[in-house]
């Protein structure tokens, strides 16, 4: 679902019915989905049952495993995921299954990481983490507004390293 930018629909942006505004859209590309699909028939617009998924992620092959579903009661990314340095040369951090899990569970998690595309944005995420890591290590306040799980894991690792 795209958020409507009210400045786009102003009459001053149209000349003889043709849009003249060439403003770049800042809206996100996302699809509206339902947590509980069974409510779609009767209560499709129930606010609490709606969430937005990034279109790119949503269009990928959908998995059948319920593991890593954020709406699941047992959902805990720290239990299932682990952030590791996947490419030392380029300083890329990626998610992998938590090594404390059983091998079978790890396979399920790896499958879901691929299905959900959690590592599709690893370059951008790693650069962002690097900037925040620098900021944190230089004694400045970091206000993470995205990649929250990855940042919390980075912070945990940093604290553990500093404590040693």
């Amino acid at each position: 679902m795209r958020k409507i930018d009210k400045t786009v629909i102003l009459s001053t942006n149209y000349k003889e019915g043709i849009k003249t505004l060439t403003k770049k859209k800042k809206s996100i590309k996302g699809d509206l989905e339902h947590f509980d699909e069974s409510l779609k028939k009767t209560d499709a617009w129930l606010w609490e049952n709606l969430f937005i998924v990034d279109t790119h992620t949503n269009c990928r092959v959908k998995g059948t495993k319920s593991i890593l579903k954020p709406d699941s009661k047992e959902y805990n990314p720290f239990k299932y995921l682990e952030l590791y340095l996947s490419d030392e040369e380029d300083n890329i951090y990626s998610f992998k299954a938590n090594s404390n899990l059983s091998e079978e569970k790890q396979e399920d998690v790896e499958y879901m990481i691929d299905t959900l595309g959690l590592n599709c944005i690893e370059d951008e995420r790693s650069r962002q983490l690097r900037e925040w890591k620098d900021k944190y290590e230089l004694g400045l306040q970091v206000e993470a507004y995205r990649y929250i799980t990855a940042w919390e894991m980075t912070l945990k690792n940093l604290r553990e390293t500093n404590a040693k």
Binding site: D87, E89, D90, N91, E124, R127, Q128, R130, E131, D134, K135, E137, L138, G139, L140
Partner: protein, 102 residues
Amino acid sequence: MRIEKLEIIKFDENNQIYRELYYEGENHVHNYTLDPRMLTWTGILTDIFDLNEHSNGMFRKKKLLEYAKLKTKIKKIEDIEEKEKLFKELQIIGKQLGLYNQ
């Protein structure tokens, strides 16, 4: 893009064209010695297209040194406002080096 098998056409010392194969033995089997799908962009340029690894090394190394020095300087400063001010400079260098997002 699907890469079936990698072969690159190159020039030899006598400017004659030759094929460089990145597999050994038969074709159409999984026997790559070099596979671009597993390399970084830099790896593709250096290992497949023989580009000199250190072609922009001088400029980059200088900037990396500037980045490292500025980090050390910020770490030593205690005044938060001054730290924040210098961190903005570090962000510019970080972006130039591709260490931070644009």
